[in-house]
Subunit: 416 residues, 4 copies
């Protein structure tokens, strides 16, 4: 259980830190200000990706700070989940950095999925341009009309008719769909098969965004925030026809693939949350020491110092817990690290939400505005508490696995 | 300590409830959807007030459901703070109703201020059109460059030069400033006077929005939400020259007037929060019973029922506490009800935030979007925890007053 | 909804306060010290009631400060539940006062039960000496071998055989059983009757403590605290034979009577908790101002002042909520105030536990010892969170009643 | 940052676990029942140590499961702090095991202190019999008359007069003092020296318990629990005369020694808390699955499963945080691990208190009694939140060190 980064990982981390300090930090405020000034809001058809981002991506790629999330040493950086974790944390301090390093969700998860389960043809057509950062992708799982916390509720269907897949249904919170570079959707849908078990009747299907029958209906705000030019969309699929080769790994493997996709992805999310929480803590301290009320820096008033300590306590615990889950995935595989993954899925965004709430309070009105990244971090935290299974589903799973460990219940698994 | 509404208050409440059900509820979704579609976001110069709102205001006024917050029986409805409280609660269930009834912040507070402290000229020019709902107003107190939780930090100045007031400074979170109907600003600023005490050197000044030197620089989002067409703005005042008659109540009375303005206003805010929390609880229950996961309605899964109980516990306590504070204001005046006012200033928005957080969690992604009022309620709660003094300032004041009650410290007052 | 005490209630309250200040406070420390010095701990057969207590009871009775909990104006003081509430609060500031005023649990509940449901014979034999404070009583409901939070789990049986009741079973947490003056037990047990519903098969039986077959097995400590000379005991009933006249209200009425007994009793418990919380808050403030660390009184360090404010917030809310529940019982009866009663059953002891935890923390080691009443108050809070239905059962009931209010579920009742 | 136990540590752990299962668990209930039956309570002069304990100690020592806390490989087991941590956790599952392994507080800390700072004479006279488990010791630091959270408040004096030390003062919460085997006290007292700094004026003095002028005044209960036969006492020192050789490490080194003593000791406390929390969680699960209410095992009702998950989340985080602090002490020394030590000082007992509170709630009345170790664990947690610096002092220190890390303040140290 050694959490110390390897020399290679430490080197990556140092270079990521330097790149963020030297290349990203100086331009990031202008990047977001530009997007705000362009001000397209819900009018997502007019969203544009600033050229500045592509420039940063080129630089990062040139320095090899690229696809570091991918454990494969050819396609990615050859880092284990544990080795990549501190890099994910570091990148999470910025709202822009993950995209600059081509390590952003949902592309990272989609790339991992295509890398592990994709056919050669799928890899050539979609994985390569994704790895090159030329296109982007979305992941379509959650649906508006059912409680998606129970994935078996899914209503979208991917039915085989002859040599075609016919896709119907409606998805939302498909993140990244607002980006004009997004070309490919990974869609999970029901492929009814009476002969199979409940968790073998769903498929992953690759759907080019331009396919007839695919309609992006709107972008969804989170507390008024559209996450432009990334976006979270609602999509209708109406008799969308695709070749059988659009199945990833064949029909019926949806749950299996989703689980494989979600393990390391949750580590990345958690570590980015922790990085954001560290950034929020620093903002809180600097603001709290710079502003004076009733004759003292805010940080020295009332319960503020204790709250700072509570933030430190929460962050340090969350980091160690996440590193432990990463180590477990590396050691025994994601399937056997289900409890550890659920633990950090609950902890990390809640810690981020708590620390942001404190930091906003210290900032006063500025904390609510977009003058600092705090409001965006808060929204990130609040969203992740629902994405990939809400807190409550993961807590229930943890409880089941505890009961199982102590001799109660059968397969305590469930699908989080 | 009788919290039972009088027959008159009960009659008003019944009619407000009926009006909200029959007139507002059927059109409110279309109202907000229209604003979203118009989609001006930060581009506030293009914000418009939908005609639908003016139509609703006309109807409400015709029915006498108008200015009910104002205790005066000529200008308002003649209801005490306690009598108006349940009406404020009811109106808080809707994001639109307070405006429809001309009972919305900050206009209600500004009207009260003008009613109590305004000269006849000021009343004729500004109070009358405000009471008529023809114009709107903003209140400019918080500043971007200092910790405004300590109001003595204020840097804006209103200096007397001959027969003019010269106003300089910068204010932000001036709510309502985005509304095209807003014509008048109530600005608090420092009027230095070495002969006076620390809390007698600030003035309230009436500034027509068109006065030369007044520049609205931008609208501030709260978590990405611009509260269009109301808005929260940042304003620069540069050598703004006004006649001496622009002082409200004369120079140096700013703190006195601010305190008078904030007492009942905090009751209104608190009761609207409680109404919003009731609405959020109902949304949570209906959603939680309509959506099924793992074979059961969400509301029957895991800790959801207990959380529902916790929401009920929190709301009922907050309501009683606010009614008690209202009763105290009516009985002994706002100045002697300082502790009770601070108690509900802390409690009510925190309860609303907590209940919204639960309700969002039950709604899944829908709770984050603008498909329900939950995200707007959440933002309301989060903002009010900072507005009119952050939680921490009020807690500190409560503690001082407790110490004083038990024999420690001198004037435990302070200015929250 | 008028919470103001009537003149009669205010007069009682003033006299109770004076009696506590003048008669109880001066001797209470010596009373408990005497018990500690006698030091019988678990060896309950040697417990004694200090004569000092009987002396105080005589004085209180002489002044009419006696049986004030009982609404009947002959047997008690003729105060409504709402009128008695502040008196219960006041008495809760002392660990001794409720007994001095003959208003202590479980005797008060047992007297109420006998008053409402007892036969003339039962009243003459047991109620009269209880009202006179000559004997004490215990209430035997909870059992060691089942989850007593679900009262239908009860295993003790009271079976009719000819003209006798035969009682068998085991009860624990029978409070008051350690007192040498305790002469009568009110025992709830199962009286099987296939013709009746689930909640009509239990009876209340009066069992003189000396009846053959009754064995007090031990006293149970709460966190090491035996609550001497009151005590919480475990009792075995083995073929205890009683006349049919020992049924209270006849066989099968156990649940009905238990509910009737618990309504006002929970108000009393809640108000005593609130009184204890006020006392704890005062102790916290006085200690926190008297002790200095790092150059300042403890109360001015770190988050202590904010915690003081949180204690005030919690207590004031709990009091209003309890007064509201009392008013509801007076107005519509306990059966229709089930939700309100459950709300305060959850809130009041939790508030007391929270305030005591803070106050202990300010006291340091002294707070853990028996040098202050804080540890006893803490234990009281922790126990009441389980007694008369644990928090979770009441929360579940509240949730059911909320669902019912909003149109879901049938009779949302349940038995808390 | 490798938290994996070494083979030697793993072997110790396995043997400790086996010993606890085979030797301690079968007799522990009888051990405590025996003490309860003997029932001496506050009458500590009659306390006895059951022979059963000495027998267990002999067996443990014979197997080398002895003094494992001591890093020295001759006097102890040669385990690092990190290696010993899981052993401390395991032993913390039992209330008896730490004493059986001669690894109990305060003896372990006192042995470490004597090992590091004691003279040869002191080692021969006191360390040897302590290491052999023949005698016990107490540590006297906290005082009844001042806020001991600020150690510079200390009033006890150890003044040099000629070739003698004259000790005066009063100490309390001197743990272990009730044990009839306790022969030696380590007393911290003020040795005024105008030439020295504030933290160089205190000394550690070895005081044989039989020295004239030493009076044990009473044992202090924690929530009624006397921790018999260990005990926490109040002691008066009146003109106690000792040779100069009674100073540990010479006069003026008290703070230095206290800090050295407290670092690893806090790790031990924290890990024992974590072991106790694991034991409490298991008790909760077993009880919650064995008892049925409303047709289901308690563990499946309402929020219980979620609370179980929260307990797991809290425990796993606390463990990792403590292992990290242990690793830091091993790597850079306790002085540079001050922040990490304070983090776990806050976290571990709070987690134990939280988990015990849940577990008690699931147990109902049984959880409050002494039928399970839960009430003793709860008391342990509540006490440790005050011992060795209350939560608030450690949070304040953490905040200072965070501020220092981010460039604010000077030496952020302080003395926790």
């Amino acid at each position: 259980m050694d959490f110390e980064p390897s020399p290679r990982a430490a080197d990556y981390l140092a270079r990521v830190r330097a790149f963020m300090r030297d290349e990203i930090a100086p331009v990031e405020p202008a990047f977001w200000a530009g997007i705000r000034q362009a001000n397209h809001g819900a009018d997502w058809q007019r969203w544009e990706v600033p050229e500045m981002l592509e420039e940063l991506k080129r630089k990062a790629r040139a320095q090899g700070l690229w696809n570091m999330f991918l454990p494969d040493s050819q396609a990615g950086a050859g880092l284990s989940v544990l080795e990549y974790a501190p890099i994910a944390e570091e990148s999470g301090r910025s709202l822009l950095a993950p995209t600059v390093f081509n390590c952003n969700a949902p592309d990272s998860g989609n790339m991992e999925l295509l890398f592990k389960y994709g056919s050669e043809e799928q890899k050539a057509r979609w994985l390569q341009p994704l790895l090159a950062g030329e296109i982007r992708s979305a992941f379509c799982m959650t649906e508006p009309d059912v409680a998606s916390s129970d994935a078996t509720n899914m209503r979208a269907t991917a039915v085989v008719e002859g040599d075609q897949i016919v896709l119907n249904g409606r998805k939302w919170w498909s993140s990244g769909i607002g980006d004009p570079h997004t070309k490919i959707l990974v869609v999970m849908a029901h492929t009814p098969d009476a002969a199979k078990g409940k968790h073998e009747q769903h498929s992953m299907v690759l759907v080019p965004v331009e396919t007839p029958g695919v309609t992006i209906e709107r972008m969804l705000p989170v507390f008024g925030f559209y996450d432009e030019p990334h976006g979270h969309g609602e999509i209708r699929f109406e008799n969308v026809r695709l070749p059988l080769s659009a199945f990833v790994g064949g029909p019926g493997r949806g749950f299996e693939i989703a689980q494989g996709r979600l393990g390391p992805g949750r580590i990345h999310h958690a570590m980015r949350c922790i990085g954001a929480a560290e950034a929020a803590l620093e903002l809180m301290v600097h603001r709290g020491m710079a502003r004076v009320a009733f004759g003292k820096p805010l940080m020295e008033l009332g319960g503020n110092a204790e709250r700072l300590a509570e933030a430190r306590i929460a962050i340090d615990q969350a980091r160690l817990l996440t590193l432990h889950a990463a180590w477990k995935i590396d050691t025994v595989g994601a399937a056997k690290a289900m409890k550890e993954i659920s633990l950090i899925k609950v902890v990390a965004p809640n810690v981020l939400q708590q620390v942001c709430d404190m930091a906003i309070q210290i900032h006063g009105g500025a904390g609510l505005s977009d003058d600092t990244p705090l409001s965006a971090f808060f929204i990130q935290a609040r969203s992740i508490r629902l994405a990939d299974g809400p807190d409550e589903v993961h807590k229930t799973l943890i409880a089941k696995l505890e009961l199982k460990r102590l001799g109660y219940g059968k397969q305590g698994g469930g699908k989080a």
